[in-house]
Symmetry: C3
Subunit: 277 residues, 3 copies
């Protein structure tokens, strides 16, 4: 590793630690609109991370609540007509008042045409951070990917280069997969390692990650928010698996580790690489 | 403690034990309309307590189902237009046939204006028991409280005196917080102690508590129902924390303890105080 | 046991093992529309069993998604107007293209009239497999059963004979209860034993079972799919209870055991009986 890369790596370590500390102190209010499968889990993960989730997804309170929230998180998992109306109001408001917001375009692709149109329309409000799996981000970047429902059919390593084109519409893109990739205007591409193979076998972990990025974005820059949330998840997944390698027990242990992360575990376990520009 | 307070304390102990025994025997059918975040958890907590939850929240079956249920529980967490219509029919029906019902005005306050209007309208059907956190109950009692989403910004001890004014609209008010307060027409204010600091870090515990009050109200008077449910939760929280002090494990252990409560643990751990009139 | 019954028993053992193996290999995409209480749990159980759940329940994507899914699972727990519209489109599509689909008529009976009419209408699209508790299946078979909300008031052994009349409308009927019964055009009635008395104390286990039947039906015949899913659940329940006999811990252990089932545990623990024709 050359000196400037090493320096950047050190700076990022410090910024992740600082973001985590600010999250603990400020416990930011996160306005979350997510899917029916994920809502309980997402709220619990945000609470475990010391954020304050508010799952408010009706069109009548969307505008007012975005204004008082620290950040907004929109997830397209199981949209209803009424929830989409709420998302459109919320995204527009966030855009207008420059509130940080995260878009998770669950299922984006040629198979789920209706929601993909909704996502296209939400994209016009320029999400601060776009977060998804490789199929979704690849499809948004214009690749013709044959998706299989809501799970990715391609590897994150195959799409992160193309994804950079999306920086015209948002400040940061976070792609999850066996490795995660953080793409931003501020830094070279960052690859995040760690986690456990059981994470994708627990539903809504990706949805919760999107909401956690929003929480971090209330206290730090978009790229640091995405990086911190991904590192938070990767460490929690790794430590949870070490303690509880069976699926049901892993799920409870993962919440434990999200809650128990601290500066020391970040310093010891955070594993990310700065990729060549 | 003077003699009459001691006598009342003993009477209440007996009544909590009796309410718990009746709940186990009768397994009352509880008609629950709750939010998307809470529904799975609330059903599981009611099942753990030996009640029979039925999460029916459409306007087409609301009237008929209130009539056969033992009690009704309404929670405003993530209302949809269709669910609100169902709540209005259910509350009106419960009022007309004098069926016990609990209202949990999640997020009531000046920030969430729309739902607060819905709550005001539901209040005209005079809930048997009103249950909420200190922000919500304080705002309903006319205090001008700056709420932060759905979590309380004031302490329960600050609002229980003002909350007595709400007894004109309902028979009992239960306020949860670091201490809980049960306010009723029948008894002096009762303060419930115990629980664990982890309880508010698990989403929907308050929502589940409201539904459990409804379950108890199918087998006992409003004040005893609220007191019994709060004591049930406080003991379960305390014992769960003693066995599993980490957040994810605590969650599973809490369900265990809700299920395993018995007369002996009530006698040993119930901790409540009768406050001066 | 006479020779031909013994032979059939052996054949069924082999077919269950084969169905489980195919499920692991193919990880079929299961299109699920279920209730708000169950959605997270159902997705997690399907993931634990190595299927690929997609919880897509809007009317705008229903037709297209049924076409790419391996099977469809419809559950009437907490229907909304929009979700019912989606279910009707999905059932019609599945019927037209002969895609395997499971109907779980939660709460069917004289008390919940509205949803019962919806179920009647969905039945015209001839579900491949009908799955429910004894109250629901009994009511569908024309018995006049006084239901108590969504839990059964009669025992499965009381209705399985009458349920055979429903074979005119579907290929297989699976009734859950203390014993489970699989009724099909292909085999004599099969009774499945095992499980744990705690299973009905965890909400949505029945809903998850319906979705797992759909998953198996993507890789095997209707009767073998129903039998395999019931055996899968019964073994997981039995082994989970042996490891974790308290309600909250049982829930996590059950997911573990759904995930860890293998040919050896099927051979050792599967417990079913072929009833006289």
């Amino acid at each position: 590793m050359n000196t400037s890369v090493q320096q950047l790596q050190n700076t990022l370590f410090d910024q992740i630690c600082e973001a985590w500390s600010l999250l603990q102190e400020q416990q930011p209010l996160v306005h979350v609109m997510t899917n029916a499968v994920a809502s309980n889990y997402v709220a619990n993960i945000l609470l475990a991370a010391n954020a304050s989730p508010a799952m408010i997804d009706n069109p009548f309170e969307a505008e007012g609540f975005v204004k008082i929230a620290g950040a907004l998180s929109l997830n397209l998992g199981t949209p209803t007509t009424e929830q989409i109306e709420a998302m459109q109001i919320a995204a527009k408001t966030a855009h207008n008042i420059q509130k940080s917001w995260v878009l998770d375009p669950v299922g984006y692709g040629n198979v789920l045409h209706w929601r993909s149109c909704v996502v296209d329309q939400l994209m016009t409000y320029q999400p601060t951070i776009l977060r998804g799996n490789a199929s979704e981000i690849g499809a948004l970047a214009g690749k013709n990917i044959e998706s299989k429902g809501v799970n990715s059919t391609v590897d994150s390593s195959e799409v992160y280069l193309q994804a950079q084109a999306l920086l015209e519409q948002c400040e940061c893109i976070a792609i999850s997969g066996e490795s995660d990739y953080i793409i931003s205007r501020d830094y070279p591409v960052i690859q995040v390692l760690g986690g456990s193979y059981l994470q994708p076998r627990v539903t809504a972990t990706g949805c919760a990650l999107g909401a956690l990025i929003a929480a971090y974005s209330a206290v730090s820059s978009p790229a640091i928010a995405a990086l911190s949330a991904h590192v938070h998840f990767a460490i929690a997944g790794q430590l949870a698996f070490a303690k509880a390698p069976t699926l049901g027990q892993f799920n409870a242990a993962f919440t434990d580790e999200i809650h128990q992360l601290n500066i020391e575990t970040i310093r010891q376990y955070a594993d990310f690489r700065i990729l060549a520009d």
